[in-house]
Symmetry: D2
Amino acid sequence: MIIIIRNNSDRTQVDNLINWVKGLGLDVHDSVGAKTTILGLVGDTSKVDIDLIKSLDIVESVKRIQEPYKNANRKFHPEDTIVNVAGHLFGGDNFQVIAGPCSVESEAQIIEVAKAVKASGANLLRGGAFKPRTSPYAFQGMKAEGLVLLKKAREETGMPICTELMNIMDIDLFQDVDMIQIGARNMQNFDLLKEVGKLRVPILLKRGLANTIQEWLMSAEYIMSEGNQNIILCERGIRTFEPATRNTLDLSAIPIVKQLTHLPIIVDPSHASGISELVLPMSLASVGAGADGLMIEVHNDPTKALCDGAQSLRPNMFEDVMRKVERMLPLVNKVIR
Amino acid sequence: MIIIIRNNSDRTQVDNLINWVKGLGLDVHDSVGAKTTILGLVGDTSKVDIDLIKSLDIVESVKRIQEPYKNANRKFHPEDTIVNVAGHLFGGDNFQVIAGPCSVESEAQIIEVAKAVKASGANLLRGGAFKPRTSPYAFQGMKAEGLVLLKKAREETGMPICTELMNIMDIDLFQDVDMIQIGARNMQNFDLLKEVGKLRVPILLKRGLANTIQEWLMSAEYIMSEGNQNIILCERGIRTFEPATRNTLDLSAIPIVKQLTHLPIIVDPSHASGISELVLPMSLASVGAGADGLMIEVHNDPTKALCDGAQSLRPNMFEDVMRKVERMLPLVNKVIR
Amino acid sequence: MIIIIRNNSDRTQVDNLINWVKGLGLDVHDSVGAKTTILGLVGDTSKVDIDLIKSLDIVESVKRIQEPYKNANRKFHPEDTIVNVAGHLFGGDNFQVIAGPCSVESEAQIIEVAKAVKASGANLLRGGAFKPRTSPYAFQGMKAEGLVLLKKAREETGMPICTELMNIMDIDLFQDVDMIQIGARNMQNFDLLKEVGKLRVPILLKRGLANTIQEWLMSAEYIMSEGNQNIILCERGIRTFEPATRNTLDLSAIPIVKQLTHLPIIVDPSHASGISELVLPMSLASVGAGADGLMIEVHNDPTKALCDGAQSLRPNMFEDVMRKVERMLPLVNKVIR
Amino acid sequence: MIIIIRNNSDRTQVDNLINWVKGLGLDVHDSVGAKTTILGLVGDTSKVDIDLIKSLDIVESVKRIQEPYKNANRKFHPEDTIVNVAGHLFGGDNFQVIAGPCSVESEAQIIEVAKAVKASGANLLRGGAFKPRTSPYAFQGMKAEGLVLLKKAREETGMPICTELMNIMDIDLFQDVDMIQIGARNMQNFDLLKEVGKLRVPILLKRGLANTIQEWLMSAEYIMSEGNQNIILCERGIRTFEPATRNTLDLSAIPIVKQLTHLPIIVDPSHASGISELVLPMSLASVGAGADGLMIEVHNDPTKALCDGAQSLRPNMFEDVMRKVERMLPLVNKVIR
């Protein structure tokens, strides 16, 4: 951490600051120029409150050099983390596709879709039981009943299931789920992060729609600091000024995240654009960018989907995506296992 | 709602769509041009799923004309709502200032600040007991003990208290709080919104940092649809590309919100910029824009604030803000009562 | 175009508006509901001033249905445009790589880089002679002399050259250039667009860093409406809140642009991120997304590059990018010719 | 400038970098920690190419401490600059209102509006002769003829005139204009900036719609480095995700700009929102934020405005804005002279 001292600051106050910083167990390098005094803090600065230092009268600005996350930091854990979801591996040279409908609607629907996506090569089944919806008047999901149907589909097909948890009070219902999704709107629901941090089930942590990569990794750190290291990140589009797509899929985030952390990262190309024709090209683009997997919405009859219909593929379109993704994987040294 | 049909669509499919829409209890105006067929849906379209219609093959685009919120909509409730917080009124020609520290730190601190801001003219006391922090290693607030200290400060000064609720599981602790704040990161924590909708205590609903005005009003609608009409909106800055301020205070939102809804709206100029020198000019700007009040962080010793230090004013700076705000209020026909 | 009339508007004023619109040669469909009157304008609305209509007291909102561009619109020109740059084709199933240094610095440098990128498979040479720089104190390019050196490199290698024009007054110097680049900062320099519209040389039109896809296509329309149909679009990243990359490469723009227009589109993965390690993954991602080509910065010695050094590859890294891109092209049915 | 060296970098390479930096005439403070080596560059770093240093293999990151602008920097010029536009002062405790139509349309129109806004208290007349329009099919202004009409209005009313220059080739036509506007889309048209830098006429430099405050000040620096110190900045809204307003007026920019530079800054509340009802509240908000003036569109008959109609006030609404602004000015210690 670098602290830039204001010109003409009182030296005693600067010394007080230096002593306070040393009291936190850090070394301070003091670099006095003709016009500028710079303090370089050396040691573990992850617990230093940058805003507090900024508020001091003698401080012009503070710049963090070290990343404020530790468990998630690749510097301290250079090898890729491999997350095992009921026998399917994420990370390293593994590639996984999670597919299924936006919402669970009925036993027939979820089983039919599960069989279809399995036949095309998806290894995991997704489906929303609890749905975060912008409007209180929109369908909010089948809730507990939806979880029961997902488990029936798992029984029928052998596919592990992934579904979203929105509320700490529902956590007991999710004990038997294979991967718990934390949605974009809950990426900074810190109490929820701490609770899933106490579990050992893999967590799919979606990026908030206006959150920086650093904030995202800090949310992973919340989970990891409670003990759960089984985290898979999921890029799903950020909010920008461009109205042609619902969100802007930030694929540059993938190689950046790979540099910063050892955790696997997948892409959800369905939600980002909100346009089903974009799922194929953005899936291939995600593979090219180095993603460890995809999460794709598939519906047996998109015109009847109760939510997010515009972004759902039909099974035959999904089959096409899978075949093209598979042809591309050897070029990036990835394998679906 | 307007549905634009794709050129050369099959007429039978268009008729099926028309019949389906009529089945929802809506009238359909069918406007067939040489190149374009347009369907105008007339009636209460707030429950129509726009994404579902967009997903149909015959549909080029769908545009909503009516706002999807009803309880919050000024069209159906033209007069300003006045929210009464323990005798202090928000909305109409009333102006209120809520002040206090970012976090409650000790009995002495909260009481000292409360007395100081009351002496300067603030009517309500703010202070964080449960703190949402980006880092798991940062101070997370005094929690239940902080609430106890806030209530002591209320007893001591007679000021109603406003503090943030982050977690449904803590809701019982907030029964006796005068105004519950829902923070920016929880603006779309829909389960939390529903829970506070069941209370009758006034809710201060902060705008999410990447949420549109319409999404914000939909979150108000979540609370109102459960029965709680006592909502005060709070603009606190949105996320943009500009790095000079932490967030960009969107003051145009104030007159826009006033057109769209009857709910009162205040501004938090402290969090938006993260720079204490900006609190005075942005407070006066907020008054000029038509805000119904301000929420300002004040700390007895900013260099010791445990969080968000950079944006906290000292009591003497707050006194200056209050005197200037008061001189300005008659120009916008507002009164602190 | 759809005009939503305010509730309770005076019918005479509505009729006046209808007559005025008809006077523009358009048909009007009048749809009167219990609460809402909607006018549907049918015909060529590209010349209708949407802001003028919005300003009328009786108008609540106006929504455009047809795209305001014609020459660039795929609806009126369904087949892909193929742009021929000195024998190298852009669009359709063709794929092209343009490579070279950020700035031309010396004869030796530009010839060395040109030979290296040609050996790796690039068909066109790029290099900046006139450089747009944020700071007046930064190197502004070799200007006319740089153009001379570029032409020497063309003579030496046979590669067509692409370089940026910033100023109408320099246009004569560019007569012999094979492809003229209009940079992101000049995407809405409308006088410059009109001037290059009068030429027949192919134009590489970069997307402005905060411009929507529609604005970008309107800028193409400026060029086309003057007669020059030889336009290649170039996505190079947009400005967002994310600080980890200089800009956010918007790869979803590629399939969207392909739907809206018949013009070819390539990607510049070097400028978007500002990080040379990202060039390879983002190049592969661009191919996956359906791009018609790439523009990549390559420098013989990045540590000596006079500008934009951080994003320049060395020739051996470029060789690696080319080999991997080539292996991927068959999967998206593209060929380098 | 601070350079963070990568862990385990070769010391010889670090020494080479240090020597290279010293060769630029800068001092280097070398701070070697257990894990991190930090170089602090002391001296005039405005000409150091930050991107070049970032591109070095041994460099992890580079952070600028000093602002890269000098002429515009308040640190080197602490007192406010006062710009004299034909006898009317901008900056210090002066407040100025520039008003007039979006476009000059006819002699009668511009003279009528000029008289009306003068009667209400505006000191300067604005009006567009050359108009930057997104669409090539939209009205592009009366051009040279519009300038003639503006000068007639000046003769008739005595008001100095301000109008936009888009193209270097038109510069001779602007010799007699009192203040030349550089529009948002040309904020980084560097050749145009250099040309107006050679004049001594005051320049109104609008902020680009996606430009940071630092980039804006660098554009002012372009003009100043050519010799023209008569610059007035104009905030007019930035591009964000919020669709309710055309742009988001960034009023926090005003106190920030006041800290960073000595140049005056005014606000254009008309273009930012695109909604005429917002002009009054955002004008008062601008005064509260500390602006040195306003630029407001006024049209004699908004329903007939040929461009930007939605944001034009009628003269009677402008009269109301002026009376309220005047009442507010004493509170911020400003005077219209």
